[in-house]
Symmetry: C2
Subunit: 339 residues, 2 copies
């Protein structure tokens, strides 16, 4: 017998702030780096290739007192049925007793924690005086990435949005993305900023300090010769084998941090660069938790290209879900059910 | 956005009958044997050896239209805190969309499905005229095993209960077990039956037609020379490496079926018999689903010793959980939460 808190997407959207997510993701990275956080083996199942699959990511965060899992399914035929293709569900447990604590719709948390990841990479690796952000990809992740960046990097005041495969899409989506960013900022940013659409990716890359890539691309989008010295990249799009957003040559002389070494090499932005001979696994400096913790040094100078390869780990979801649970409890929201 | 049904242990106890569980477990075994049921990889994590661990078992039942997982944790220190050592939580999903369907306390289902497994083994392998059942082990599983057997094998009318390590325990527990069995039968058995305590295991074995073992033993409890021809064993105790309840010599000339071949060999009753040279893996006849389905022949004659090695598979939990969900919906029970 135990009491479980049920949090819907709507409730999580009301209680969880992007600043919470940023702090949570930093905490998850640090616990992973000190060994307080551990990942359990990944479960993947393909119901039908290219049509339906799922994975179960799970892990333990000793300092947060929780363990848990996130099951995410993708059913390609759902959109024709008027349903989302992705469903994500998170279960949290108390690590002192094993009792279940909460069931959450994982969607809202996934958006926030992924946005926070890109921003945390920039916060610890980008040049301090960075002012110009380029958001590559105008999909569902764009507002989360932009809002998180505007909170984590107060000096950034000019954002450009570029949709590499269909350049007009960024302009079409601009209004909706601006509104979504405002909503996610929730008054947490007072300094002014602009968000504009950029048609020419090469030119936009050349004038940016911080570039976040969040596309489903399987080919390099950004070429080495477009990139100016000192640029920081946070790559969040590549999260399965075969995905790639940067020209491997960019990685070959960059200072690279990752969220999880094994995963970056097998499914992250580093995967193809390594396979194509641009990068050796031992050239990756380390996991970002060790940088946040001060155990590894970050950017060496103002000229260096830095890269954060975020393939996404369950610990991010679990920490941020725990924050959502605490916030909901403070406000008496969610449904409590006897189990 | 989706609606999830939350079922507590208490609600499941009200809606789920042992007959439901028996039908569900047969269905799970058959789907496994035909390929409609599949198991996903097992996740195990040890927080601290001998003190706390967990596993996540998951799988898909195409004919039932569901997939899902059961997370079971064991925290040895819980009893000192007045909490159960085991917590089990089941999540079910719709296999046509991936949407979450239900969250259940797995405890009530685990008891029922494990009891049903022992009885299903006997139903398909024991001699039809079997009358005497011996229950080895007087723990939490005993009433589930006895009640399921009394439903699945109407000819059984005399049950003996034996606690091999502390013979007086069976007598001490008899009253509570009788009551629990009555509760589980819920009027589903009209023919009379008796349940008595047996002090001498060897003698009780020698007069039994059907023997169910459900103990945490790591050494053989039942010797070959005690067993009379034609006896059937359902072994449900061994579910992790190193556990054993039968003398390996019993398995060496028995007709053996298992719930899952790979699991029986690695963690079931067959494990040590194979390691000790009493049995070769290829001597196992097959999985019980193929016997239920008619694809494999069962007992050859009245003299043969038969064994069903049930190590427990997630598909049993998932099918029976689905039945509980259907029953609860019919009666408008459980808590429906927007996710």
């Amino acid at each position: 017998m135990s009491e479980v808190l049920i949090l819907s997407q709507e409730t999580i959207g009301r209680v969880l702030t992007m600043s919470d997510a940023i702090r949570g993701v930093e905490e998850a990275y640090c616990q992973k780096s000190t060994g307080a956080g551990s990942l359990f083996p990944l479960v993947c199942h393909v119901f039908e290739p290219e049509r339906a699959d799922l994975d179960i990511k799970s892990g333990h965060l000793a300092k947060s007192g929780i363990y848990g899992l996130k099951l995410v399914s993708w059913f390609g035929d759902n959109e024709a049925k008027g349903l989302p293709a992705l469903f994500g569900t998170t279960l949290l447990f108390d690590d002192s007793t094993g009792a279940p604590v909460a069931l959450l719709n994982a969607g809202a948390v996934t958006g926030m924690r992924t946005g926070a990841a890109g921003a945390v990479g920039a916060k610890y690796l980008a040049r301090k005086e960075s002012r110009r952000m380029l958001m590559v990809g105008a999909g569902a992740q764009a507002p989360y990435q932009i809002a998180a960046m505007l909170l984590a990097m107060p000096g950034i005041d000019a954002v450009e949005l570029c949709s590499p495969r269909s350049p007009s899409r960024a302009a079409d989506r601009l209004r909706a993305i601006r509104q979504a960013v405002e909503g996610l900022l929730g008054g947490g940013r007072t300094a002014p900023y602009t968000i504009a659409a950029a048609e020419d990716l090469a030119e936009a890359v050349g004038r940016s300090d911080v570039i976040v890539t969040a596309t489903p691309s399987h080919q390099p989008l950004i070429r080495r010769e477009w990139v100016r010295p000192g640029t920081h990249f946070s790559c969040v799009g590549a999260d399965m084998a075969g995905k790639q957003e940067l020209d491997g040559a960019i990685l070959s002389n960059a200072r690279i941090f990752v969220d999880d070494l094994a995963q970056a090499i097998s499914v992250g932005e580093c995967e193809l660069a390594i396979r194509q001979g641009f990068l050796a696994p031992e050239e990756i400096v380390g996991e970002i938790g060790a940088l946040i913790d001060g155990a590894l040094p970050g950017r060496a100078d103002e000229e260096e290209i830095t890269v954060f390869d975020s393939s996404g780990i369950a610990l991010q979801d679990l920490v941020v879900s725990k924050v959502a649970v605490d916030r909901a409890k403070e406000r008496g929201l969610g449904i409590t059910a006897e189990l």
